[in-house]
Structure formats: C-alpha cells, structure tokens
Amino acid sequence: MRPGSIIYFLREAFKSLSRNRLLSIATISTVAISILILGFAVLLTINAGALMNYLESDVEIVAFLDNDLTKSQITDIKQDLTAITGVKSVNFVSRERALAKLQEKYGGNEYNLKETLGKNPLPNSYEIKAEDPHNVPQIAVQVKKIDGIYKVNYGQGVVERLFKVTRWVRVVSMVFIVLLVFAAVFLIATTIRLAIFARRKEIYLMKLIGSTDWFIRWPFFIEGIFMGAAGGLIAILILAAGYGSLISHMDALFFLPLVTNPGILSNVYISLLVCGAVLGVLGTWISLNKFLDV
C-alpha cells in the first residue's frame, strides 16, 4: 500500500462521514447504546463476581477441639491440618479469644458475657481456610477424621447452596453478555448497511472500473473504526460518570462491596472502547461483502 493511498483512504472515510452525516450519527448512536448496555452488563457481572468471591472467601471450617488436650497435642493437630491438601491457612483460636470475639459481636459494652454465663463454655478451635472455597466440604471430611477434634462446622448445607447459586450467576451473566454482543453486532451491521446501501452505485462503479476489494474496503473500515470508537467513547463517558457517582454514594446506598479498583475499571473501559471499534469493523465487514460481489 502506498502512503498516497493511506491519505486517500483517510480522506475518503472522513468525506463520507460528513457527507452521510445523518447515517453516521445514527450508527454512532447505535454503537453508543449497544456499548452502554454491554458495559452496564459487564459492570454488573464484575460486581456480582466480586460479591460471589467475597461470599465464598468467607467460607471457612471451624474445627472444635476436645477440652482435655495438652499443648503439644494441639500443635500436632495443627500439623495434621496443614498437611491436608488444599488447605491455605490454619489459625488457632483459644477459648479466651473465642469468648472475647463473642463478647464483641453480641455483648457489646452493655453486659459482660463471662459474668452472665459464669464460666467460659467455648472450646479451643482452629479456623481453616481452603485454597479454593469450593473444596471446603471435602476438606471438612478429612478434618473430622483427626483425633482430638470433636466437631467440624462450615455452614453445612448453606455453603453447598451458595456455591450452586454463584455458579449459576456466573454462567447466566456470561451467556447474557455473549448474547448482547451478538445483538450489538447485528444492530450495528444493520445500521451500517443503510450507509453502504446509499453508496452502492459508487461501489458498483468502482468494481467495474477495476478497483480491488481492499481498495474499496479500507475507507469503509476506517469509517467503521471511527464510528465504533466514537460510539464506544460516548458510552464509556456516560458509564464512567454513572458508576463514579454510584461509588461516591455507595456508603449511603449499599451494604454491598462495589468494585472500585481503578486498574480493573480502566481495563473495563478500554476493553469497551476496543469493543466499539471492533463492532464497527465487524458490522462494516458483514454489510459490505454483499455489495462487493460484482
């Protein structure tokens, strides 16, 4: 490709953009709306994912120890626990510590649990976290087998249901996003087809004069990239403004943890921008090929 052609392609692309102003605006709006919906779904998915991770990471095994164990027996048990595959951390909680926690959680400053109960009814325990929270039920079975542990608790039943729900949420949101992308491609291709249809005579003429397909395609692709990126940019600005204000009001609005990591968010926005440009090109490609078949 000669440098002269690149200039020609750019000039043709922008001439066409301004000549078919109404259709260009229609296409940019279509992309903007598509990306806005898509971006909304992505942010929703990311936050749902973060919430799921948060809920899942909360899942832990509490192993209650017999009360008559010696110090060295307690350390041995810790070694046995650490040896189980898939265990991330093992944390000892003494009876005193357990009571203090309980006091903090339920007693507050109003009344003293220890005095009310007369004695400390709580056993020593280990809190066990798994590398992958999904393995908690299997690990719990192993933990139960260890001598000196009289009870294992991980929210049996509830945890299994939680995992079912989180898997479902993840699958549904992925399927939803894929469907959205398909709908966006279709919608954008349809709008771009109108713009190309308006120039079908010119394309036909170019073909008969002996222009190559790529020579005809390039200006349309540049136009598609530009319109896609412009639409994407508009959508991102709206999305970022909306989400930004949501984050700043979050404390007042929600008990849910919103994703605020600027690294993740800027990745989302950049991906959406690229997605807009790609949609523009894809829509152009789909719509244009039919007209090149002369």
């Binding site: 002269g4 000549r19 002996g210 222009s211 020579f215 002369v294």
Partner: protein
C-alpha cells in the same frame, strides 16, 4: 485476436436463456456494433467481457487470457483493460467533471501526477475543456456522456464497451457521440457498441453483429450494408 467466444451459453438463475451457443472473434482495432431486438442478449454478451456475468457454458478469452477460468483476484486487472460507457452515464453527482474522471484513476491506484496529466488529456479529447469544475447536474445529456467516455478512456483501455451510449440522447447529440467513438477507434482502441439505433449503424459502415433470442443471426463485415 482481442476477443474470442467459444460456444458460449448463458442461462440466468431464473431459467432465461440469454445467450445460446455464441462463437465470435473480434480483432484488435475493430469497431463492432451489436444489434438486435430488446431481450436478444446484447447486454448479457458485453457483461461477460468484464465478468459481471459468467457464462453457463463455453469459453471467453480477452487478449488470450481466459475470463472464465480467471480467479476472483485477477478480475480487477481484467477490468482495468476495459473501459465501460453506460446508457445512463453513471456519473457521481457530488463530484465535478474533473473528479469523476480522476475517480477512475484513483480507484486503480494511479499517482496524482499521472492523474493530473491524463485527466486533462482526456477532457480535451472528448471536447469538454472549460467544464472541469462543472457538476454533472449542470451539463447536457451529451456532455454528461462525454464525461462518461472520458472516464472510460482514462486508464487507456484495450477495449471500450458501450451499451446503448446514445439511448438517452437526441439524434444530433447521438451523431456527435458516434463521431467521438469513431475517433477513439481510429487511435487504435477496439470498440464494441450495443445499440438500437439503426440509422447510426447504417451510415457507419462498420461490422454489425445481429442477435436474436441469444443467437447470432447475421455477422456483416464492414463496408457491406447490414439490415
């Protein structure tokens, strides 16, 4: 030989048999009229030459290269050797005379220097000097067809194809356009022209190919009176 047709038939997808076993040779430098009633297959025949339509059966050669077996990617090169003049001119309304002609060279990737020289040259050739900046809407039919011819000539084609180039023009203007085509033919370009205009053909004394229902019914050499 510039053009060779060997037993070419064309059946359109709707079942219409537009060409029926056509064999034909055209020499370099010839001027050929294609005549025949409406629906005889004249347009179909010329469309085969620039591969807008492919034959259902038979072989076609241009300058000894098979048009039928040619790959899709080779079609642009074939078309750059052929200039096409249309009945309805097919000018781009939003481009000036100059730009319409330059367009034909731009789309085949000519340099801007070549374009400037050649466009000026063909504008003079078709007698449109001074109209460079006019838009098609500001020109008469005859002038618009001159632009169409200039555009077809811009890339120095071996073969000029004109499908009813005078179909939309009055008799005087048609005669002027014919004169222009004869002049172009005199400089060595082979011309194939499909037409209904008997009077133009009669007075021209060129080779006339008569089509009826997709068959050649007469092939009259130059100098003899056809019809």
């Amino acid at each position: 030989m510039l053009v060779q047709f060997y037993n070419v038939s064309k059946i359109y997808p709707n079942g219409v048999k537009a060409l029926d076993d056509i064999s034909l040779k055209i020499d370099r430098g010839e001027f050929l009229f294609l005549m025949g009633p409406s629906g005889a297959g004249k347009s179909t025949l010329v469309k085969m030459l620039f591969r807008e339509e492919l034959p259902t059966r038979g072989q076609i050669f241009l300058a000894s290269r098979s048009i039928v077996r040619m790959k899709r990617g080779e079609v642009p090169r074939l078309r750059r050797n052929i200039g096409i003049v249309f009945q309805d001119f097919k000018l781009l309304e939003n481009k000036t005379v100059y730009e319409n002609i330059a367009f034909a060279m731009e789309v085949v990737n000519a340099s801007s220097k070549e374009i400037k020289e050649r466009v000026t040259e063909v504008i003079n050739m078709v007698g449109l000097k001074g109209k460079e900046k006019s838009f098609p809407g500001e020109l008469s039919g005859g002038e618009q067809q001159r632009v169409g011819i200039a555009r077809a000539l811009a890339n120095r084609p071996l073969l000029l194809i004109a499908d009813e180039p005078t179909g939309n023009l009055d008799i005087d203007t048609s005669n002027e356009i014919m004169e222009l085509l004869f002049n172009i033919n005199r400089t060595g370009t082979t011309v194939i022209m499909a037409t209904h205009a008997r009077e133009l053909v009669k007075s021209a004394g060129k080779r006339v190919l008569m089509l009826e229902q997709g068959k050649i019914v007469a092939d009259t050499p130059p100098g003899e009176i056809a019809l």
